[in-house]
């Protein structure tokens, strides 16, 4: 890790205590039925990528239900891959000088994320027969031309953005009684763990941002732009042509494009990203006129 990034100063005693007292055994607490049946949605109907558009109304009830099943498996697959990518970055940083104050909490974080990956992956494999593959990261990945503090900030900002986006879905599905109980449960448990991760992520974010403001304020607009691009990238990843293909919908790529241009979907994206955009704006990282 770059040595020019000063050690972060964090008091995480409260979050560490919560992680300890909320600890559970993921391998035993869930009740996994043999199968889920096809007569109810697996993903909240108002959260599927066709919600609010005329495309949804064009489907038969069977097609709508099939779509909720593949979208649920896709959403949980995105979780698996998102966690895989963010965990590797966190593992590289635990017990380094910069993150010494965070190491105790990061042990909880790493353990919990491994468990999240397990229950999301189990849902996908058991009921969907597969984890949808991730598209590999091809091309330069990191933000370029900025200082070390901004580079570190981007790592944790991406984690925070991913966690907040996912949490929008978890919070809704945790209490959606139309879903199979196991789908509600894994969303509920994840929502609970992630409230600690998000609180941690926001502390760390402001610490690293202060370092950027001190050392290289000229990086701020570059960061703001990068993070807005990342928000849009994240929300677009929900629209997977393979899902539409599996659900038997016509012309998946054209459908995806129509959905991404649809005003109802723009409104949905704004709702999904609202909390994160507000947080970024409060920290001086807003992009003028940004909307997904």
């Amino acid at each position: 890790m770059p040595t020019t990034v000063k050690p972060v100063k964090l008091d995480l005693a409260r979050l560490e205590a919560m992680a300890e007292s909320d600890y559970y055994n993921p391998y035993t607490i869930f009740d996994w039925p043999e199968s889920l049946g096809t007569d109810r949605p697996w993903m909240s109907e108002d959260l599927v990528t066709l919600a609010g558009t005329e495309e949804w109304g064009k489907l038969t009830r069977e097609q709508q239900l099939a779509l909720t099943r593949f979208e649920a498996v896709n959403f949980f697959s995105l979780n698996v891959h998102g966690i895989r990518e963010l965990l590797s970055e966190v593992v590289l940083r635990i017990h380094t000088k910069t993150y010494a104050d965070a190491s105790e909490f990061l042990h909880h974080f790493i353990g919990e994320e491994n468990e999240h990956m397990w229950f999301f992956g189990t849902f996908c494999l058991k009921y969907g027969g597969k984890v949808y593959p991730a598209v590999p990261q091809v091309g330069p990945g990191r933000i370029e031309g900025v200082g070390d503090a901004a580079t570190e900030l981007v790592i944790f900002a991406r984690i925070l953005i991913f966690e907040e986006l996912v949490d929008y879905f978890n919070a809704r599905m945790a209490t959606d009684d139309s879903l199979p109980p196991i789908a509600q449960e894994i969303n509920r448990v994840h929502h609970q763990d992630e409230s600690r991760h998000v609180a941690f992520g926001r502390h760390l974010f402001t610490q690293l941002l202060d370092q950027v403001k001190e050392s290289r304020p000229e990086d701020i607009p570059v960061l703001a732009n990068y993070l807005e691009t990342y928000l849009e990238y994240s929300v677009r990843s929900l629209y997977n042509p393979a899902v539409y293909r599996d659900a038997g919908l016509d012309q998946p790529l054209e459908l995806r494009r129509r959905l991404l241009e649809h005003p109802a979907r723009h409104a949905a994206h704004n709702a999904i990203l609202n909390r994160t955009r507000k947080f970024l704006a409060r920290n001086g990282l807003q992009v003028q006129g940004a909307s997904a």
Binding site: A134, V138, P140
Partner: protein, 82 residues
């Protein structure tokens, strides 16, 4: 590849990254920052549309995406007029 398909690929690249400038068939798209990792998914879907084939994300070889000529050879059946 057909001029039409090439134009669509170049339009995508220039919309995403106006600073990249002129690109020849053998220019390295990754070194030139023509496509970065946040744009790659969309780039993949564009190639699926142009080729009419689905591309398995688990079978991706970066070298197939490195130049316009490589993309043509792998996904557009080498229809380039060169």
């Amino acid at each position: 590849m057909s001029d039409d398909k090439l134009t669509k690929i170049l339009t995508f690249i220039h919309q995403r990254n106006p600073e990249v400038g002129e690109l020849n068939l053998d220019d390295d798209l990754i070194d030139r920052r023509a496509v970065d990792s946040l744009a790659f998914v969309e780039f993949l879907y564009l190639l699926e549309e142009l080729s009419g084939e689905t591309i398995d994300p688990e079978e991706i070889d970066v070298e197939d995406f490195r130049t316009l000529r490589a993309i043509d050879k792998r996904f557009l059946h080498g229809a380039a007029a060169h």
